[in-house]
């Protein structure tokens, strides 16, 4: 690379590390390209292995038609309800910044998405199943007949998994609403509706399309939940059909075709979302002081908020309590469990870190790039891992790398890599808002003053990003910690990770021990989220470095 003396930063006596514009563009671009390449290679090698079947098979086959329409319908319903639950909840949580147990509630909300499905379903079934107390209540007292199995159960489970995630992201958005707007709204004493129109909606609007696309894709590709709670083969998602064609029929062509159908449907959605969701960085965000809305302070308003919150808390915690009650008798901190914990962490922490770093670099690249093709590329790369079934990706990559792949250790590296990749879309959703919240005035000022590269990151972005980063890291790690699919694909060596241990215990009829392992996994995730949250909180830093002067006011994220 040639040194460019004409660069306008070259004149500075001490140039900031990583301050060349290329540092913001290239790493992210390379990662994005690598992701797209990896996904294409995975899918492509499957297609090469066995040629694609006739496309017309898709609409001639009644079963495939049913599968596609059902997958769309349940994903649409689940997304709509998840968001309908999440929006008022996020508003209430933003309105009520202090109440006992708020932080615990936030931790629990972060948990549901990362729970391994077998553990979560066990909890849901104990509450909403045929023997569950909820069912008794509804059937005996309200005279209704509630049946968990079918579309009911699928939507319920998807709302349980996704509504808390959506609430969490929306809350983060509302809380990062520009302070001047909030201040003025508070001074004017706006009522709830006007406050929503003036402050909350503008804050929520830019993240909503991406969030809806994220939730939709999650529900669209959901597999074990749909099968277990769906009742029968009438409730089948495309993922099941892919699984069947790869594992049992060895029909790589059909698997690739179905994966492409999934890719096209979800991709279209993300494309639409990206077209409507790119306004987030236009909002000014100069915090002067924090003012809260008056809307949540009257007694009646607080009672109403409390009632809705209580219902949600019950919805969220009852299954978790069921998991606790079921797992407690079998929870035994055996060496096997602790070993599995270490092994899981050794995979999950690097995977989480990788996803966060990759997300930051991609966001930096998207923020710098002026060419639409680059922006589009980063958008695609960011959501691609969600849409390509892990089984397709894994099998494709296996085909690509054979015969060099195969030893268990390479397998573990692969697992870490794919896990990190799978977590990337979530991490990106968590970080894209805060990363874009730097207003253009500050940015230009920073440019003029030469606050660039590392310094710009350290003094402008880091204070805003610390909390979202901690949360993103927690999600990235948590998702990998509970993962069973990817690790099962590559074949673990004799020593299991926690989810593998759980399945081993089940395979050997150790139901109680498995329930204990499930509970341990939940506790570990909870611990992890609390820990990362502590690391990201200003209190923690203040405790460590009391003398650090605060350059910029902190944006308030929960």
């Amino acid at each position: 690379m040639n040194y460019q003396p004409c660069s306008r930063w070259a004149a500075l006596p001490h140039r900031a590390p990583f301050s060349r514009p290329g540092w913001r563009l290239w790493p992210g671009l390379i990662i994005a390209c690598a992701l797209v390449l990896l996904a294409t290679a995975g899918l492509g090698s499957l297609i090469l292995e066995a040629s694609l079947p006739d496309l017309s098979e898709l609409w001639r086959n009644r079963y495939l038609r049913t599968v596609v329409t059902f997958t769309l319908w349940q994903a649409f319903l689940s997304t709509a309800i998840s968001l309908l639950v999440a929006v008022p909840l996020a508003r209430i949580l933003a309105r009520q910044p202090v109440f006992p147990g708020r932080s615990v509630l936030l931790r629990l909300m972060e948990l549901s998405l990362v729970l391994p499905s077998i553990v979560a379903v066990s909890g849901l079934v104990s509450v909403y199943g045929r023997q569950g107390w909820f069912t008794d209540l509804v059937n005996d007292w309200l005279g209704m007949s509630w049946n968990l199995y079918g579309i009911n159960g699928i939507v319920l489970a998807h709302v349980f998994f996704n509504a808390p995630l959506a609430t969490r992201i929306l809350l983060q958005a509302i809380e990062s609403a520009p302070a001047p707007q909030r201040r003025i709204a508070a001074q004017l004493g706006l009522g709830r509706w006007l406050y929503w129109r003036a402050v909350e909606w503008p804050a929520v609007k830019p993240v909503t399309p991406g969030l809806a696309a994220l939730v939709f894709t999650l529900c669209f590709t959901s597999f074990a939940i749909v099968m277990t709670l769906g009742g029968g083969p009438a409730a089948t998602t495309i993922e099941v059909a892919i699984y069947q064609s790869l594992r049992f029929e060895f029909d790589a062509g059909q698997a690739a075709l179905l994966a492409m159908v999934q890719l096209v449907i979800c991709g279209l959605l993300w494309w639409l979302a990206a077209r409507h969701g790119l306004t987030s960085s236009l909002l000014p965000d100069r915090q002067v002081a924090s003012h809260r809305s008056k809307a949540g302070s009257s007694v009646w308003a607080r009672l109403g908020d409390g009632a809705i919150l209580s219902v949600f808390v019950l919805f969220l915690t009852m299954p978790l309590i069921a998991i606790l009650l079921r797992g407690l008798p079998g929870l035994d901190l055996t060496p096997a469990l602790l070993d599995a914990t270490q092994r899981s962490l050794a995979i999950a922490l690097p995977a989480g870190l990788m996803s966060v770093i990759a997300a930051l670099l991609i966001l930096a690249c998207a923020g710098t790039a002026s060419r639409p093709v680059v922006i589009r590329l980063t958008n695609v790369a960011a959501c691609l891992p969600l849409m390509i079934p892990p089984l397709v990706l894994g099998t494709g990559l296996f085909l690509l790398f054979r015969p060099s792949l195969g030893s268990s250790n390479e397998g573990l590296v692969m697992v870490t890599l794919i896990n990190g990749m799978m977590a990337l879309p979530f991490v990106l959703q968590m970080l894209s808002g805060p990363m874009g919240s730097l207003d253009s005035a500050s940015r230009m000022q920073a440019d003029q003053m030469g606050v660039l590269g590392w310094y710009r990151w350290r003094w402008l972005h880091w204070p805003r990003m610390r909390r979202p980063l901690a949360l993103a890291m927690a999600y990235g790690t948590g998702l990998s910690l509970g993962d069973f699919g990817v690790i099962a694909l590559f074949g673990s060596p004799g020593q299991p990770t926690l989810p593998v241990l759980l399945y081993q215990q089940l395979g050997s009829y150790r139901i109680d021990a498995a329930a204990g392992t499930g509970l341990w996994l939940v506790l570990l995730l909870l611990l992890l989220f609390s820990l990362f949250n502590r690391l990201g909180s200003p209190l923690f830093r203040a405790g460590l470095k009391n003398n650090t002067s605060r350059i910029l006011p902190e944006p308030e994220h929960a």
């Binding site: 079963y63 049913t66 077998i118 379903v121 066990s122 079934v125 104990s126 199943g129 045929r130 023997q131 199995y149 597999f223 074990a224 099968m227 277990t228 709670l229 769906g230 009742g231 029968g232 083969p233 009438a234 099941v240 699984y243 069947q244 594992r247 049992f248 029929e249 060895f250 270490q342 092994r343 962490l345 050794a346 922490l349 085909l399 054979r402 015969p403 195969g406 030893s407 268990s408 250790n409 573990l412 099962a488 694909l489 074949g491 673990s492 060596p493 004799g494 020593q495 299991p496 593998v500 399945y503 081993q504 215990q505 089940l506 395979g507 050997s508 009829y509 150790r510 139901i511 329930a515």
Partner: protein
């Protein structure tokens, strides 16, 4: 903890590379329930390594289907010397890959309900598919498949999906064996009794059956043995059906490209000795493939003893599976 975890990983990496080349290693592809700490795997490894001056390395894949898939993906370059954990539903497809070698094991000690003559696959255990029921919820279970199908719709059962699970495929074959061309019709009648169809046995058994969601689940006739011997409860029993029960045999085979064929052959022979077989009944919760005599745990006497094993030739299964699956799908989604 993190630093320890990393050190552990590094040590593991180092020990793997260091130990290679000293003693021959026999790499076995198998599934989790065999290699688990409580499965027969560790005990078998210990017993075999005492006699062979070698090491056993288990590569644990998700299920029998995955062993086959991995083998196909790797082809000639596979690291496996031996595959263990295929069953009568997957073995024919595996044979057709041409990646397996013939064995020289003497099969005369076998004690299976069917006659077994196969030049490639050596069975190591077997069992019947059966509906396991909760005696507290269902004191009088149906006594035949026909009675189950004719039962009122408030009797609920949990089954597994034949597209994704071995027992699920077992029930499909079971129905087909009993009802032949009428199977689709019978599935439609059974439909009302099916609470749900799960992806795998684990999902159904753990999340639903053990939570009391349904009184009956498709499982193995040997499942109650574990509950009786280890959990010390007689609450869960298998319902004996008059039509007979579908048989599953689990098998192992040598890999053609293996450099350790002699060692592998030694292992196959060892597989039919008491040193291997005694770990099967309570650790794999299946019937041993040879007669263990008095070593067979007493609880096995309390299990159901189906008179007629229902069984399709593996080739018939491979040839018809797709068609029968579609028939089932069609019947169930109508």
């Amino acid at each position: 903890m993190l630093i320890r975890a990393f050190t552990l990983l590094l040590l593991a990496l180092a020990s793997v590379s260091a130990s290679a080349g000293k003693v021959p290693t026999l790499t076995i592809y198998t599934h989790p329930s065999f290699a688990a700490e409580w499965g027969p795997g560790p005990a078998v490894k210990e017993a075999f390594e005492k006699t062979c001056n070698c090491r056993i390395n288990y590569v644990v894949l998700d299920s029998g289907g995955d062993i086959l898939q991995r083998l196909r993906l790797e082809g000639e370059s596979t690291q496996a010397d031996l595959v263990l954990g295929l069953d009568t539903g997957t073995m024919e497809t595996t044979r057709q890959t041409g990646l397996l070698a013939s064995h020289k094991t003497d099969l005369s000690a076998l004690n299976l309900p069917i006659d077994w003559q196969d030049s490639v696959f050596v069975p190591y255990d077997w069992g019947y598919f059966a509906f396991v029921y909760d005696t507290e919820q269902l004191p009088n279970p149906p006594e035949s498949l026909e009675a189950l199908i004719a039962a009122p719709d408030d009797l609920k059962i949990i089954i597994q999906d034949p597209r994704t699970s071995t027992p699920g495929l077992g029930l499909l074959l079971w129905m087909r064996h009993v009802y032949g061309d009428q199977a689709a019709e019978k599935w439609q009648q059974l439909k009302g009794k099916i609470l749900t169809t799960t992806k795998s046995w684990s999902d159904g058994y753990f999340s639903l059956f053990m939570n009391g969601e349904a009184p009956m689940i498709l499982s193995y006739s040997t499942s109650p043995a574990y509950h009786m011997a280890v959990d010390k409860t007689e609450r869960y029993q298998a319902a004996e059906f008059r039509e007979g029960h579908y048989l599953q045999v689990e098998v192992a085979a040598l890999v053609q490209s293996s450099q350790q064929k002699e060692l592998g052959q030694e292992f196959l022979d060892f597989m039919l000795s008491a040193g291997f077989q005694r770990h099967i009944p309570l650790k794999n919760v299946m019937y041993p493939a040879t007669d263990l005599g008095s070593e067979l745990p007493d609880v096995f006497e309390k299990l159901i003893h189906p008179s007629a094993p229902l069984y399709f030739d593996p080739k018939t299964v491979t040839d018809n599976r797709r068609e029968w699956l579609n028939e089932w799908l069609d019947a169930m989604t109508r």
